[in-house]
């Protein structure tokens, strides 16, 4: 069965996360976005765990669905065009901060559990190591490798996937507190790492430049802290809808079962280029090297971004491809496309109205961004929005790279194209 999966999200128990990230809203928004399998996130948090116990029930093996009595309440908020089955998979992100080989390391890992029993056992062990009750993404003074060992000891179906592997500050290959290779982090357990999350700041071709990632299936997830952000990155599966089905596809890298990923434009990621945010200084890797890694405006060290870091670790030229190179497509969330077209922010009411006009008629967001015929979009919405969708499909956009925690920007239309925006507005 073909479906989209977003395996890394955060519940309302995580810091700086919307209060609406509860199971009911996830159920609703997964349908609006077009996601069939969504991670629960945060299963180490005692209250979220009990919420999961209360509101979800087992569906296919290793997957869960929202109980009827809770689903009913949301069903009238889901447009008929989007209605579909939604499945949950138990996941959590652990932040590990520890010393290894004389350096402070900060690495985030995603853990998946095949059942509540396994998750409960894992929680007991992690609870003995640190505090898992305050934040849905707990911070533990636990070596990533030990974390992996604990997962393996609890169940051989308890999987660990390094998260957003390129983020400078909290990733296995991060420039500031990561390692120079996967193996340095997980030592002899490295063969257990069969998948890794590319993160918003990188896309597959950047990762293909490292032969150390050749046997690893690269996945992409939203890391959403609010429903709007769901599926800004996602995975495409065509396999049995079950925990084992999904992980078998990832482990083997079977191209018939794992069809690839949907990616944020890496330039939009907030660590794409190098720079120093306090000084609004952005630099590509070459310029950074010229300036000796210092910010020319204040003299402090710049934060090295992902492009640079990839360059440093790469052992292959650009354009290299290898066995586990999967197809990918760049996405921009529909609200952002609409917003850019109308010249307003994506959170504005106008955008919301236009958005739901399209969704209600044509179906979920991913289908609109990827599959639906342009003519159909034109019938429901205005020509400009339809054109914007095409431009994005074809990658014809202008990119302003992000750096040092500052998100990048995309421009679909150059300023002069927007001259007739006002007249279109009258249609709303």
């Amino acid at each position: 069965m073909k479906f989209y999966a977003d395996l890394h999200i955060h519940s309302h128990y995580s810091r700086a996360t919307s209060k609406t990230m509860d199971l009911e809203n996830l159920y609703k928004w997964a349908q609006i976005k077009g996601i069939k399998v969504i991670g629960t996130g945060d299963f180490t948090h005692p209250r979220w765990f009990v919420e999961i116990m209360e509101k979800l029930e087992p569906a296919e093996e290793g997957l869960f669905k929202l109980k009827e009595e809770f689903a009913e309440k949301m069903d009238n908020e889901v447009p008929n065009s989007c209605k579909a089955e939604v499945r949950f998979i138990l996941s959590v992100e652990i932040s590990s901060i520890y010393k290894k080989n004389d350096k402070t390391r900060k690495v985030h890992n995603i853990i998946f559990a095949p059942s509540l029993e396994v998750a409960s056992k894992l929680n007991t062990q992690l609870g003995n190591i640190g505090n898992i009750k305050s934040d849905g993404r707990p911070i533990l003074g636990l070596d990533s490798k030990k974390l992996l060992e604990i997962c393996l000891s609890v169940s051989d179906k308890c999987y660990l996937v390094p998260a957003h592997i390129w983020t400078p500050h909290f990733a296995v290959l991060g420039s500031n507190s990561g390692f120079d290779s996967i193996e340095e982090c997980y030592d002899e357990l490295t063969p257990k790492i069969f998948a890794a999350e590319t993160g918003l700041s990188s896309d597959p071709p950047m990762n293909w430049r490292l032969s150390m990632l050749d046997n690893i299936t690269l996945i992409s997830n939203s890391d959403a802290h609010s429903p709007e952000k769901l599926a800004r990155e996602a995975n495409i599966f065509d396999c049995e809808l079950s925990y084992d089905g999904i992980f078998e596809a990832l482990k083997t890298g079977d191209k018939r079962k794992f069809l690839g990923t949907l990616e944020f434009f890496p330039e939009e990621g907030k660590y794409h280029f190098d720079g120093h945010r306090p000084c609004s200084y952005c630099a590509d890797p070459k310029l950074t090297i010229e300036n000796n890694y210092l910010c020319p405006r204040c003299g402090k060290r710049v934060t090295v971004g992902v492009m640079h870091r990839v360059e440093v670790l790469a052992d292959r030229e650009e354009g290299g491809k290898h066995a586990r190179a999967f197809p990918y497509k760049h996405l921009i969330p529909l609200k952002e496309i609409i917003g850019d077209t109308l010249g307003v922010g994506p959170a504005s009411k106008k955008v919301a109205a236009a958005y739901f006009e399209i969704i209600n008629t044509l179906g979920n967001e991913l289908s609109i961004l990827l599959d639906i015929d342009i003519e159909d979009i034109k019938k429901v919405s205005n020509a400009k929005i339809a054109e914007a969708v095409i431009r994005v499909r074809e990658g014809k956009v202008k990119l302003f790279p992000g750096y040092d925690g500052e998100y990048g920007r995309i421009q679909i239309f150059a300023r002069k194209d927007n001259v007739d925006v006002k007249s279109q507005l009258e249609m709303f």
Partner: protein
Amino acid sequence: MEALKSLDLSLLNESQREAVINFNGPFLIAAGPGSGKTRVIAFRTANMILNGGINPEEILLLTFSKKAANEMKERISGLIGERSMPFIGTFHSLCLKILKSYYFKLSINKDFKIYDPADQISVMQKIIHDAKDKSLKDVLDRISYCKSNLITPIEAPAELQEAYRQYQSALKEENALDFDDIIFKTYQLLNKFPEVLEKLTFKYLMIDEYQDTNKAQYEVIKLLAKRDNNICAIGDSDQSIYAFRGANIQNFLNFGDDFTDLKLIKLEQNYRSTPEIIKSAESVIEKNSDHMQRNLWTNKEKGRQVILCNASNEKAEADYIIKTIQLYMGGISRYEIEAKNISDSPIGYGFSDFAVLYRTHMQGNILEESFLKSGIPFQQIGAENFYNHSEIKDILCYLRAVFDPFDEAALVRIINKPVRGIGAATIEKIRLYAKDFGMPFYQACQEIDTLPLSDENKKSLGDFIQLFEEFRLTATKEKLSNLIKIICEKIQIFELYKDKKRQDNIFELLGFSVQFDSLPPFKGLETFIQETAFMQDKDIYDENKNAVTLLTLHASKGLEYPVVFIAGAEEGLIPYQHNDENSVNDEEERRLFYVGMTRAKDELHIIHAKQRNLFGENIEVQPSRFLNDIPKEIIENREHELKVRKKKGRNEDQLAMW
């Protein structure tokens, strides 16, 4: 035969070497903090065996705790290789060994039992019927004090004599000794029967942490040392902090009175702390009248000044500590890093490099809350075990009773929780009935018609039994987590316990129970009960855990950390003032503060607040008098206030921790 292992004495400084190579006669080794005392003891012992021609069984090494004894054993076996080990243990383990060999001389039975504090209270309860736990403990403390000072019942204060006498009789009847008896009886044995002393093989005695010995222990040592006069007391009178347990600092200071030709060796080189930390600590302790003159010094490079932070209140105090740790760690979440652009710490600290010291457990609770919110991994010494929390005990007792209704202790605990009109008096009636008819408590409960209870009470009891039997039935049909959920719902436990922390604990217990769901219903319940019983006894502090340590000043003794925070450096806390007393044991409290200060290796942060919430009120507090003794030039002064972030809307955090 293995070649003689040789000791590398070049690792020692001059004073350490002097202590290690001399072992005939009486010695007093005054070891300042961080001066390598443990190494000296280990080397001295090894040297006696390897180069001194002394048999291990002739050596006795007494340590302060079992943990210290184990560490010492490891160290020494590393030095002496395959040879047999000398006796290394605590006073209690030594005296126990002696008593087990010579019990008959004192008319103690061969298989005497040892009573722990819980047992002691049980005994006392039978003597003083209608007293609460706290007053029982007070009496026991006073008796303990007597025994530590070798005071028999006849010699005890008049008002205590009867209770003391009866308590000892009860112990004798039950063929038991308490911890203090072990020492006291050993003293009596050795004092009365010199032939026993002759039989003991110990020719060379070493006592660590000598400053914390009490009179009883001291008198035992004197007897043991009488024959050969080879005794070495090691310690630091400035770190004597157990007066409340009967320790007598005079033992240390007046050691020379009992041993002529005493040689005094001072270990004055500190290997642990920076010059600034040492200077600040020494300046504070020098003011004590019973401070032994010494010159503590270090080779270590100059470090940072001692930081004295004036926080607006206890919340700001916690905030300062947490922010500093986050800063030194280079930020622990992207929020700090992006907001302030903290670059990663070049020092590379780990969580376990930080310690937060406080005077009272009350302060510890408040700090614990702040640390929980911050997400920083931490562990607290002396923290309450999860399974001892009231709300957890209640649920566990329901489960225990459901599993086995004849578990009387469990049943009695929950029979009136929530309040059902089955109070203490009713329970007592049921108990008597059960005793009279020789049946278990629960069986008596079921004989409602014949119980001597009022109609109202009978109804309450009937309702309870109905509910309880429902639970029992449910237990045979539902998986464990469902059973717990049902019980929690039916007893409305979230009404009983409204505090968020307690509710968090209940959620945690529920989540924990899920792993037993795959077992058949009753079996899951049984396994769960066994597992949780086991966890109640587990020791919590793990020194290998990568987490910030929160602990009292007392608990910090013997430990060291690169960065130490001492919180609440205010009058009333440091030095501590008990509510009901006007006096403050200034000298002992000063030593306690000194111990705290000397735990720090690289940095010492001392925080005092302007206001503190005490007994529900915000009271203005004064900085500790001890702070005046720290030379101004070593201090870096700071202020810290809590910044409250205005709520921003959807994505706001809780009260900003940053």
